[in-house]
């Protein structure tokens, strides 16, 4: 039997393992066996990829940049979800507040998610830097470090940042567009009471990452099977809904520029020389 491709993933909730069981069965049925290896945080998983313990890593955007950094660029983003492309984050305020421009945040408090959350912390803060506002100099940052190491996969920090805004302990909070949409729909956020102050430039989210020396035939086989999932097929749809996508698409790296800027300006990897 062909040696299974080892695919790493960070698990923040046991329920996520169910998705991987379905994916594993899907690949098995198409003669492309994979084994999922779970990690408690991205740092461990990136290390495993760098050291060759796993073949493919399901990387967060920050983990992608970390892999690029540690491998000196010798890696490839081979696939991602359609929903990983062109995401944006919003910075929201209360409708009743007197904040109507980004400049009005000067001297105020902005609540953000975990320190390693691209969507709820790093990119929004970078966006404000683009607008001439320096964190902790021009405005105060109130951070909610929930499950650090999981790069904001767990929305807990993002939610606590919003709740901080709701309690009046911050003047604005940052969150991913998908969460804004979901939380205004399910009533977590009253869309009449809150407004989007500014929206970041688009960025890309997760991607399957391989080292440059991963055999092209194995990579080809993996993406071939991955791209064979079709949302129109009810058997595939359940898993795709759980994973939040309508289609798998080729990986691209053009969507990580803003995060790269954020990582550099906020010295994210300075604590982890790699």
């Amino acid at each position: 039997m062909e040696q299974p491709i080892l695919v790493g993933a960070v698990l923040y909730d046991p329920k996520v393992s169910v998705i991987w069981e379905i994916i594993r069965d899907f690949f098995e049925a198409r003669d492309c066996p994979i084994d999922a290896v779970f990690y408690t945080n991205y740092e461990l998983m990136v290390r495993a990829l760098v050291q060759g313990h796993i073949d493919i890593a399901w990387n967060s955007p920050l983990a992608w940049l970390d892999a690029v950094r540690q491998l000196g660029g010798a890696c490839r983003a081979i696939a991602m979800r359609d929903t990983d492309r062109d995401r944006v984050s919003h910075i929201i305020t209360k409708t009743q507040s007197r904040i109507s421009t980004v400049e009005d945040l000067r001297g105020k408090t902005v609540a953000v998610g975990a320190k390693d959350s691209p969507q709820a912390t790093l990119i929004p803060l970078r966006w404000l830097q683009h607008h001439g506002l320096e964190p902790e100099r021009d405005f105060q940052v109130r951070r909610f470090d929930v499950l650090v190491g999981k790069h904001g996969d767990h929305v807990g920090g993002e939610l606590q940042a919003f709740q901080c805004l709701a309690r009046g302990e911050a003047d604005a909070s940052a969150l991913l567009d998908l969460n804004w949409r979901g939380w205004t729909r399910n009533g977590t956020i009253d869309s009449h009471a809150y407004q989007i102050l500014t929206t970041t430039a688009p960025f890309d989210h997760c991607c399957f990452t391989v080292r440059a020396d991963f055999p092209p035939d194995r990579e080809q086989r993996f993406v071939q099977v991955l791209f064979a999932m079709h949302y129109d097929d009810p058997k595939h749809r359940e898993m795709m809904d759980m994973e939040g996508l309508k289609a798998w698409v080729p990986g691209r790296t053009s969507g990580y520029t803003l995060l790269h800027e954020a990582v550099t300006s906020q010295h994210v990897f300075d604590e982890h020389p790699g």
Binding site: L11, P14, K15, S17, V18, E21, V37, F38, Y39, T40, N41, L44, M45, A48
Partner: protein
């Protein structure tokens, strides 16, 4: 007195459903733990939690009959928490263990009897329950009785 031993035979199948044979009965048990609400089988953990609840409600019924304390209905809600379910999945870097950490049982009992008689029954049942004694020594076992008239 000689020890009394229960012997069950448990046979695995390819589809991850074991069959348990005990005396003239048999039943099927699924994965040790499962996290999919749509999972077809009943996990071993669910059997354990169910057994604790059954021990309590059946214990009350049995003892009620013996003590002539009328019970109209008795039902238990059982909640179990593992120490760290991610360790069961073999997540690299997780600490702790996959064992049960806490079990909470709320027993709802409807009876026309006076409260004192019910509470006497409850305490007698707890004192004679094999599973309560077993799990009290092994984990945090929270037991609450709610009497409905």
């Amino acid at each position: 007195m000689e020890g009394y031993t229960w012997t069950l035979r448990v046979s695995a199948s390819e589809r991850g459903q074991a069959t348990v044979f005990t005396r003239q009965h048999q039943y099927r048990v699924g994965a040790p733990v499962h996290f999919d609400r749509a999972y077809e089988g009943v996990s071993a953990l669910e059997y354990v939690l169910g057994a604790i609840g059954a021990d309590l409600v059946n214990g009350l019924q049995t003892l009620g009959r013996r003590r002539r304390v009328a019970i109209d209905h008795v039902e238990a809600v059982v909640e179990g928490e593992l120490n760290n379910p991610l360790t069961y999945l073999g997540v690299v870097g997780e600490t702790g263990h996959p064992g049960l950490e806490k079990v909470r049982v709320r027993v709802h009992l409807a009876s026309p009897e006076e409260g004192e008689a019910i509470h006497r029954l409850w305490h007698e049942m707890l004192a004679t329950s094999p599973l309560v004694h077993t799990f009290q020594a092994a984990l945090q076992l929270e037991l609450k009785l709610q009497v409905m008239v």
